[in-house]
Symmetry: C2
Subunit: 417 residues, 2 copies
């Protein structure tokens, strides 16, 4: 599906849209006028159905039915129900996924849980430049557990060979948040298993964009973000995957009442639920869950292989057009050129990356910047068109050609970049 080359025109891209089996899915989302949104990998756009779903939760369920809604609207079942809807997007069984807490909190649960499955082993292996909260949480686990944990951080090149018989768990983000580099999940997992270690995959930058198949690839444990490609809204709850074979053997360090075998027995002693429900901790965050469910429901009927192929084709087109049309020596592709090695976003380095991105955003092309010099562009297959890629690159070209990014207002740093 290499839609693009240097000699293509906007008409060629429009033709690609006509041939796009997913083109109609865009109608399921609300996208503001005058904006080309290339940041759905950071915060997914608003599905058309979400506002009414959230409003129903607030007004009818909470407001009218009050406490009874835990039963009558099955609030209590929401974490498992939504988990079951995420499962087919990631190649998991419906009873292997549940929604709870934030990605950061879930990583803490899962890594301490993984350690409990590998008694006698103390090494957690990850890579430098992993998404910061992943590294921070691993450091926190290590600080808390002291001598029982050794955190080893090895470069992407050295990491596979660093998996050894001391390794308890390999903890990696499947698609790198900056570069979009994709780890070969099956190969790394197999290598971990060969040494008796577990593989823990952070799917934050892949779930909802790639055709994941956790069970085919042998994954033990995974988690991911609800507010990126799953379109669950800002700060949406995160999802957790634990392969069936581990669920009842894993210690739940955050042993809150919702993970109890009988949460409404109100007994004094913790007795973990069997199955994936053990991964729950506190009371389900219903507003966030309602929005996440609406987001996940938008994937109904979609073929994830088609979703992945479109996202990668959008990325291919973007790379080809930037390199062909934005005549500036400063560009350096920071993502793999081969789409099979990439996730659904593309990054370029540029020494003026920060002001260029601000100038682009001012013109309504929204990507983001990641220090020190990365411009990151996300290609959400559900609501982007091929012509959006053309128009985004033309805007980028204008920002460069006019030199407008040199305006001092584009150099001022905001809190969140």
């Amino acid at each position: 599906m290499a839609y693009m080359g240097a000699t293509h025109t906007r008409a060629d891209l429009a033709a690609a849209d006509v041939g796009d089996a997913l083109a109609g899915v865009r109608e399921r989302f609300i996208l503001p006028e005058g904006v080309i949104y290339l940041d759905g990998n950071s915060l997914g756009a608003l599905p058309r159905a979400t506002a009414a779903r959230v409003q129903d939760l607030v007004v009818r369920q909470w407001g009218r039915d009050l406490i009874r809604s835990w039963n009558s609207h099955d609030w209590i079942g929401a974490p498992a129900r939504i988990g079951g809807k995420i499962a087919p997007l990631i190649g998991a069984g419906a009873d292997e996924v549940i929604v709870a807490d934030s990605t950061s909190v879930n990583l803490f649960k899962l890594v301490t849980g993984a350690l409990s499955l590998r008694p006698g082993r103390r090494v957690i292996l990850t890579e430098p430049g992993n998404f910061p909260t992943d590294l921070y949480i691993l450091q926190g686990v290590s600080d808390l557990l002291g001598e029982r944990v050794e955190l080893r951080v090895r470069s992407r090149e050295a990491l596979p060979d660093a998996i050894d018989d001391d390794t308890a768990a390999v903890v990696l983000t499947h698609v790198h948040y900056k570069t979009a580099e994709r780890w070969p999940m099956a190969a790394i997992t197999a290598r971990a298993h060969a040494h008796g270690a577990l593989a823990v995959w952070d799917l934050s930058h892949s779930a909802g964009a790639l055709a994941l198949d956790l069970n085919r690839d042998g994954a033990d444990i995974a988690l991911g973000c609800g507010y990126k490609y799953l379109n669950g809204g800002p700060g949406a709850p995160s999802f957790v995957f634990v392969a069936r074979r581990w669920q009842d053997r894993m210690a739940p360090p955050l042993s809150g009442w919702m993970g109890h075998a009988d949460p409404f027995g109100f007994g004094d002693d913790y007795r973990p639920a069997s199955g994936i429900r053990r991964q729950l901790c506190g009371t389900p965050a219903m507003l966030g869950l309602a929005a996440l469910e609406a987001g996940v429901d938008e994937f109904g009927g979609l073929d994830m292989a088609q979703v992945e192929a479109k996202g990668l084709a959008l990325g291919d087109a973007f790379i080809a057009l930037v390199e062909a049309r934005c005549a500036d020596a400063g560009w350096q592709l920071a993502s793999p050129r081969a789409s099979a090695a990439r996730g659904s976003h593309v990054s370029f380095r540029h020494p003026d990356g920060y002001p260029i991105m601000q100038a682009l955003i001012a013109r309504g092309v929204i990507g983001d910047f990641r220090a020190p010099d990365i411009l990151r562009f996300g290609f959400t297959p559900l609501y982007l068109r091929f012509v959006d890629i053309w128009d985004a690159v033309e805007t980028l070209r204008a920002v460069i050609d006019t030199g407008e990014y040199r305006d001092p207002r584009f150099s001022a740093r905001a809190t969140v970049t």
Copy 2:
């Protein structure tokens, strides 16, 4: 403010409403027709402003402004901003409170954090029958940290004398979820301090109902629930209090990126933020935060001493009327009779507690049941009237007198009781 005695009439209660300085606050809430809601201690009612606030967050902020809202609508500042609004309700400084995660997750953070402040001490002291998730989380901390922690569970009578020089932290729920018994916060905290221990208070059943003054009472660490008396909606985020003197010395075991000194620097090494922001972990759950902020805003301009006095007076009236008018030998008051020793709910034991509560709910009087035999009635000072107490007791009387609670349909157990 003893409004009620056995000889009072509904007219007397109506007169109490006329004299109630808080009567007008009821207008700030949406309460369904035909319902007397005595479960605001479990899930607060819907404030009139909430639906529009949440809708604005979803449609205008998320939908239209997308990722830019982290800056332009100060999403990033929401946890501290809302914490600052909760602070005056609990007698804390605005920079001592922040909103994040669930109560269960926060207790884990705070107890492991408290241990980090008391090196060399391993005893965590609590009481049996504490709210289950509190006990479960403490058990989880103990299981995870092994020999570094000893969990001692001592009865309410024995607990004060059990505080000794080995105690790292005393962890108690200020108002008991079943009985509404109130711990003397200042006295227990002083006793903990006399032995060099810290006091950690779960305010889930007191914040928003009682006139708390954490700093006057010397509290070190506290947390509470957003969806009970604060009316933040089902599964609302929880709040955390850490006294200024401890904030920068406390290790954050859940060291997620939002608690980093420079979260958008995307560095590889965790460096905790100074101040209360260190208690943050993952990305703020914006839908839940928007609803919680609306709930907390309803306290604007209210005098918490007046709020507390009204809630206790409602409880006094309820006790007096049940004992005078519900002629059934089965009732046994499970809460302190003296209002100063109570929170804002009242519990009675009755051998037929479960079906009686179900029959009451069927008639629109919503309280809840806590095993094995407790009927729990919450008296939310912001939206309950004194006549509601009369009407609720008359309904209870009818349920008993008719014997309708013996209908088999009221004995069937639901998931959430």
